[in-house]
């Protein structure tokens, strides 16, 4: 069995069926990482106990115990999720050397499902970025073209899949941070409904927008992985009681009569030619599968980037106030004059530029005199947008849209222009604002060989429709099983 090319489902079936040992799988990926990740910089840390964890799964299989639905699958986790005893950095100098005393609920659930933690993946510092260039530990590179970004912020989680350094990974998505890198790297990325997956132990960027989710080779793997991490958590008051359906088992790729919505406001006019082609082919594929293409409208969509950045930065400025160098994290070496100087020294040295920029933006948007015009106004637009989406979903089951306006850009191309970088997120941020589940599915390739994804969005807690449509699209497009050069 070719372990590198195997899907999550194939691997776990093989482990459960005793065709392959979990330790063999873990060892295989560890060796690949050691051999080639220096080219991509997708991992920030390898779990030192990964072989022990794999051995435990094998022991369970051998003794006839149920090893769980993720039996023996090594999973790479974005270094934004706390892992007990294993340094967690958020790709920031601020948290260099921080060792959490606890693990995120998602990590606990992965282990409970029989997965083994492979390592921690690179990201934009505190998940603030769309290119993985703001990582304090160096940018991650796109395996399809190493001069290009893998996307962000979950760049490492996407790149390690494309480079076959892990069979599946966990990312987080605040404004597109799972879907956009998935699109850039040619993998599947799922942002669950807000409240579906526990945020406990996920280092907060913007609490009302953040969701962790799976990144996988295909939609079916995504369904299995999402099932394992979803559901109410007593440690996160914003998780929903909504039951977690057996998505994987219930995947139904029959698209006849399914209504696919196309947004009037996010048409192909906004995207480059290759993206437009990929998008149109996907729409055509759905039509051929018997789906009805309907036009829907979310009039406030054009304000999504502004609304998103104001809210995300406001919440971030508050969430990042705890990094003060008192209990953990970076502390300036030089003596400080007073308490304010102490804070300013610790924080200015610990945070990178983009993080500071967003803290500044958010502090301003919440400050007295501007609070109403920015934070409150954006929160009102947010409600309108959510309600408009609810109306749109009365007319359709799934909305099809591009993920980004163009495929992965070159490293360094946009980093000096924040507004240009922010505009990148025009198709992804609205689902976070509205709390909707979304998936990015590989849709094709640009002429330069870089992958391009398409995005599907469904109503709250209707991830099933996403998996159905994504699985149908995957079979219909039947993209060649290409791998990046040299992988």
């Amino acid at each position: 069995m070719d372990l590198s090319q195997s899907t999550l489902v194939e691997l776990r079936d093989a482990v459960r069926g005793k065709q392959v040992k979990a330790v063999e799988i873990a060892d295989h990926f560890l060796q690949r990482i050691a051999r080639i990740d220096r080219e991509f910089n997708s991992f920030l840390a390898i779990n030192p106990t990964v072989m022990d964890e794999a051995a435990k799964v094998d022991a369970a299989v051998a003794s006839g115990l149920d090893p769980g639905p993720l039996a023996g699958v090594p999973i790479a986790v974005k270094d934004l999720l706390c892992t007990k005893g294993l340094a967690t950095t958020a790709a920031s100098n601020m948290l260099k050397g921080f060792v959490p005393p606890y693990s995120a609920t998602v990590v606990e659930r992965l282990r409970a499902a029989g997965a083994v933690l492979l390592g921690k993946t690179n990201l934009d510092e505190f998940a603030m970025g769309s290119s993985n260039e703001t990582s304090a530990f160096g940018p991650c590179r796109n395996p399809w073209n190493r001069d290009h970004v893998p996307g962000g912020s979950s760049g490492g989680s996407a790149a390690c899949l494309a480079a076959r350094l892990a069979p599946a990974s966990i990312g987080t998505d605040t404004g597109g941070s799972i879907r956009q890198p998935a699109s850039f790297c040619g993998v599947v990325g799922i942002k669950p409904t807000y409240g579906r997956v526990s945020r406990y132990g996920v280092i907060a960027f913007a609490s009302s927008l953040d969701q962790a989710g799976p990144m996988t080779q295909n939609a079916r793997d995504g369904a299995v992985l999402l099932e394992a991490i979803s559901g109410r958590d007593d440690l996160d008051a914003t998780t929903s009681d909504e039951p977690v359906p057996p998505w994987f088992r219930k995947i139904d790729s029959d698209m006849s009569g399914v209504r696919i919505g196309i947004l009037k406001e996010a048409g192909i006019g906004d995207v480059d030619e290759s993206t437009a082609v990929v998008f149109s082919r996907a729409a055509e594929a759905f039509r051929k599968l018997g789906a009805r293409i309907v036009n829907v409208s979310v009039p406030t969509l054009r304000y999504a980037v502004a609304t998103y950045y104001l809210i995300a930065a406001s919440e971030a400025s508050s969430n990042l106030a705890r990094y003060d160098g008192v209990r953990y994290g970076h502390r300036a070496a030089r003596p400080t004059a007073d308490l304010d100087d102490f804070y300013a020294a610790n924080r200015s040295e610990g945070f990178g530029l983009e993080v500071k920029r967003r803290i500044m933006l958010g502090t301003y948007a919440l400050s007295s005199g501007y609070h109403d015009a920015y934070y409150i106004k954006a929160s009102q637009v947010r409600r309108r947008m959510r309600d408009e989406y609810a109306s749109a979903f009365a007319a359709c089951d799934v909305i099809l849209s591009p993920v980004t306006a163009s495929p992965a850009f070159k490293i360094g191309a946009r980093i000096s222009d924040p507004l240009e970088m922010y505009r990148n997120d025009m198709f992804t941020t609205s689902s976070n604002l509205a709390g909707l589940p979304g998936i990015s599915v590989p849709g094709g390739f640009a002429e330069n060989g870089l992958p391009i994804g398409v995005q599907l969005t469904a109503k709250h807690f209707d991830e099933q429709s996403l998996f159905n449509a994504a699985a149908a699209l995957e079979s219909a497009l039947a993209l060649p099983k290409k791998a990046p050069h040299g992988v």
Binding site: P100, R199, D236, L366
Partner: protein, 481 residues
Amino acid sequence: MAYEAENEGFEAVIGLEIHAQLLTRSKIFCRDSTHFGAGDNENICPVCAGLPGALPVLNERVVEYAVKTGLALNCEIRRQSFFARKQYFYPDLPKGYQISQHDLPICGPGYVEFVSGGAKRRVSVTRAHLEEDAGKSTHHGDYSLINLNRSGIPLLEIVSGPDMRTAAEAADYARAIRGILRYLDVCDGNLEEGSLRCDVNVSVRHCGESALGTKVEIKNINSFRFIEKAIEYEIHRQTDCVLNGERVAQETRLYDPDKNRTFTMRAKEDAHDYRYFPDPDLLPVTVEKDWVEEIRSSLPELPLARAARFVAELQLPEYDATILTQERALADYFERAQEACGNPKAASNWIMTEVMRNLNESGTSIARAPVTAERLGKMIALIDKGVISGKIAKTVFSAMWADRGDPESIIAEKGLAQVTDAAAVGRIVDDVLAANPSQLESYRSGKDKLFGFFVGQVMKLSKGQANPELVNELLRKKLRE
């Protein structure tokens, strides 16, 4: 002597903010113990230490206690209330923000009634809101140390209207709030240990003016007496300020009990921009009507109502009723004692004298009093039945206090029962008359006043146990012979 602002044509406007630590087992947003006196940073976890990724989850009992208090303060209980983040940097504030209720707190407007200066007063309560406590900093010259055990202890902040005009009234308001909190068993009300904290807002204005003067806040005063003194000082200081043509500065001050004065803590110039916004980690707190009614039905009778009932139903004087109802345990004790004897006034007298004196001397709480209410009642009944005299009862009471004994067995053991046997008392009377021939002579020749002398002698010889009525009767008879 209390300073009277009115003397100068001024009146004071006083409002109080009282922070009450709620007596829950675990903290407001995490499962750490609230236990007072734990080791350094022993009761901390990722949530209350503000670790990356940790999230708050609201404690149900905190909400219950807030509703309970709100109902007792006649507050509107909001079906939906919200938590916000109040943002500022301080080393004992782990997250860089305090989770607190800002707009729309759980308890809306209400009022509290209490007795002050012999008259019933009503003070409005503007709001009562929930928040988390911060940790504790200790200062050691060139460094400070942070202990987070207190971080996340639930607080209910009760804000009064600017309704009070005198220092005494403000202190009585604070006492009334403390009494209610203790009645409800939601806060132990210990000012010294900081489980109850009082901030006072004081301003002065010319009598008859409706606009408020510049408000000065005095923080963290740790006794009711100091509340009164700090306000008196502050009224005096502000009045002088105005009289001297100076401006009263808007600022926060602290009270120094040793010097009996207040001093500037921080000027309002460096006021914070707290950048409040709703905490996205917590959903709105929803309190359904059913729950409110369930809590309402569990409310105990509160001090003022209880005192009124003691006066109306048990014919206690107002004074007794007020004293006895200050603490719920004391009022319970009184009720049990009076039920056991059927003599409320006697029970009240005994409690307000012997019981309270012994409690004070031994530093015990009423809950731990060695003489139970039932036994005290039984003893009073024995007095009323004539088994023992009031005087002997004091001996019995002391014995009960010392040995936790039952009054009847103590009386039997020590032979303290009154002698009501006419033959026995008659023999003592005979002995007394025989031993005092000259007094007998004088009495019979008209010195009536000596009757008392004979009674005294008989009581002395009987060690106080002879039934006084019987003694009188027999003496009268024998002296006539």
